[in-house]
């Protein structure tokens, strides 16, 4: 086509500085919030800032951040998955049974955990994209199903007795960086690549932005939607490995509640529940913020019961801010 012939068109159009600046501000603001929380905790409980405490916050954030990155994929595409917490429990129990009861090597246990997550996620995705059920209802149902399955196949017991090498994945360090943090960094890098260099990531954005336009462009929207939920499921499997390694055991009830943190982390990190917006960096920062808050409340001696209330309030407040932001965006459009 004549259109494709190369001509000397100026190197690059003027990139709007304002857009770049506002993007930087948005990303920078999560860092500021994180630092603000740390400083607040230092003021409230003197001696809060220490290398031990900070590395504990980051370690605890690892599982949440992994879940939040996966959650971001469905949220960007305009969906949601509230089953990730209990699916993580199910994956953990599957791995525990495979390795501890079944005597399988550790790496096969990892495959089993991630495989179970992908399988459950694919069921979610199938029901949402092919049976056209609302994501909230499907994953609410799956939240119960996964919890029930985890308790059933484990007989409600905790599983102990992983091989000694397993501890390395939770407590080991490489070049003095904790292994869970390394796993998170690797996963964040891979997912950044997926979001910006692959069709899977690109179509998560375009489906969240304008599903009909994406369909009319010839994209198999249903297949991609299924894949997004499979990815979140696999993410729950990866999260279960890191969490189980940190406590060196598997518990069927441990994951419930992590979905709240993951969703809150995505929204705090600049993701929008209306779809079409979010960054990996934001999701990681959001998870760090949630961890800092939980850790700080612990240090201040606040009961876990109250912590639940705090996390719920934060989630609602973050979503409220997101709706304000969306309204502002609509106003500035056109």
């Amino acid at each position: 086509m004549s259109v494709l012939t190369k001509k000397a068109y100026g190197a690059r159009g003027p990139v709007s500085l304002k857009a770049r600046l506002s993007k930087l501000m948005e990303q920078g603001s999560t860092v500021l919030v994180f630092l603000g929380i740390i400083l607040l905790m230092e003021v409230l409980t003197s001696g809060f800032i220490s290398l031990d405490n900070l590395s504990l916050i980051v370690l605890q954030a690892a599982t949440r951040a992994i879940l939040a990155i996966g959650m971001m994929m469905v949220i960007i595409s305009g969906g949601i998955d509230i089953s990730v917490g209990t699916v993580m429990s199910l994956c953990m129990v599957v791995m525990g049974i495979a390795v501890i009861d079944g005597g399988l090597p550790l790496y096969l246990g990892f495959v089993a955990a991630i495989g179970a997550g992908v399988l459950v996620g694919s069921v979610n995705g199938f029901l949402i994209s092919y049976a056209r059920l609302p994501p909230f209802i499907v994953t609410l149902g799956m939240l119960g199903i996964a919890q029930g399955l985890a308790l059933t196949i484990s007989n409600g017991r905790s599983l102990y007795g992983f091989p000694e090498t397993f501890e390395f994945f939770g407590g080991g360090t490489v070049l003095s960086i904790p292994v869970p943090v390394l796993i998170l960094m690797g996963f964040a890098l891979i997912m950044t690549f997926v979001f910006y260099q692959t069709r899977l990531g690109r179509y998560a954005f375009t489906i969240g932005g304008n599903e009909e336009a994406t369909r009319r462009a010839g994209v198999n929207v249903r297949a991609y939607k299924l894949a997004f939920y499979a990815v979140v499921g696999g993410t729950a499997g990866l999260g279960s490995i890191v969490l189980a390694a940190r406590i060196n055991s598997a518990h069927p009830g441990i994951g419930f509640g992590y979905e709240l943190d993951a969703i809150a982390a995505v929204v705090i990190g600049g993701g929008s529940l209306m779809g079409g917006r979010g960054t990996v960096f934001g999701a990681v920062m959001g998870a760090l913020i949630m961890s800092a808050i939980r850790f700080g409340l612990n240090v201040m001696g606040m009961s876990p019961f109250i912590q639940q209330i705090v996390v719920g309030v934060i989630l609602i407040a973050a979503v409220y801010l997101d709706t304000l932001r969306a309204a502002r965006l609509r106003h500035t459009t056109r």
């Binding site: 003027p14 690109r202 304008n210 994406t214 010839g218 079409g276 459009t333 056109r334």
Partner: protein
């Protein structure tokens, strides 16, 4: 065979030709025995009141509706358009309002939506988006069509309605469309923005694209159309060159559904002078 060769040799042969098209919903005819054709470098305005059958005719071309009777030829060859994908494959593209673009990605990404270019990276280990080439080709495309979009790395949300419409149309041109159907392309746009879109339609005609324009705006029609086709309750009212009619006559025919005699240039000029 002989006929086909003759058609191919004839440069004025229509790109798309529909003959005797009928479509019934229950006992009611949405279209009855309608002929319709568009040639290369021709803008045909498809007019009619609501329920006249314009949408049904367009949907048949787009593959969303299948005709009950009649024949469709593309480049002289008979075709069966039984799905939207088939229509696209034949080079027929429809620009729908607000359904064409994703607001949250940039201009180049929209032009290449669903057909992203990739290049090998890390010695062929992985394949990544070829943003540079997509950007270059988008700039070349926009320059070819004389569309002024200063920053193709900006998100589509940041542009005016008129610019968005021109981007949506440009996207179909890159898709190597033979026939571009535009459904109310200037509705809900400001005056300057309408001007951008109309100028683009004129540029496309010069490039030899075949265009179907559905519009309720008679001044748009009188400005860019070469030919006008009017439907009323599923029947063809008239099919004539724009030069053989004027704005008031078009409105009368759309409302009454009865064909009026062709106007010569002089007649329409005196009519206009008389007003």
């Amino acid at each position: 065979m002989v006929q086909q060769n003759a058609a191919a040799a004839d440069t004025s042969a229509p790109i798309v030709e529909m003959r005797g098209i009928s479509k019934y919903y229950g006992g009611i005819a949405a279209l009855e025995d309608v002929d319709f054709s568009v040639g290369a470098g021709e803008v045909v305005a498809l007019l009619g009141d609501n329920g006249a059958g314009k949408s049904t005719l367009i949907k048949i071309l787009a593959g969303a509706v299948i005709a009950d009777a009649g024949e469709i030829r593309v480049d002289g060859a008979p075709v069966h358009i039984n799905s939207p994908a088939r229509s696209k494959a034949l080079g027929i593209e429809t620009v729908y309002q607000d359904l064409a673009l994703c607001d949250n990605i940039d201009v180049a990404a929209n032009v290449f939506l669903g057909r992203e270019l990739k290049k090998p990276c890390l010695g062929g280990l992985v394949r990544i988006f070829d943003r540079r080439r997509m950007g270059e080709e988008t700039r070349a495309l926009l320059a070819d069509l004389k569309i002024n979009i200063p920053d193709i790395e900006a998100k589509v949300r940041d542009f005016s309605g008129g610019q968005r419409q021109t981007i949506a149309i440009a996207k179909t041109v890159y898709g190597a469309a033979k026939l571009i159907i535009m459904d109310e392309p200037t509705a809900a746009l400001g005056v300057t923005q309408q001007e951008q879109v109309l100028r683009l339609i004129e540029n496309l005609r010069e490039r030899g694209e075949a265009i179907v324009l559905i519009s309720h705006n008679m001044s748009d029609v009188m400005r860019v159309a070469d030919r006008v086709v009017i439907l009323k309750t599923g029947r063809l009212v008239t099919n004539r060159p724009k030069a053989a009619t004027d704005r008031d006559q078009l409105v009368r025919m759309i409302v009454s559904g009865t064909e009026e005699p062709l106007l010569t240039d002089r007649q329409s000029a005196t009519e206009r002078a008389g007003q």
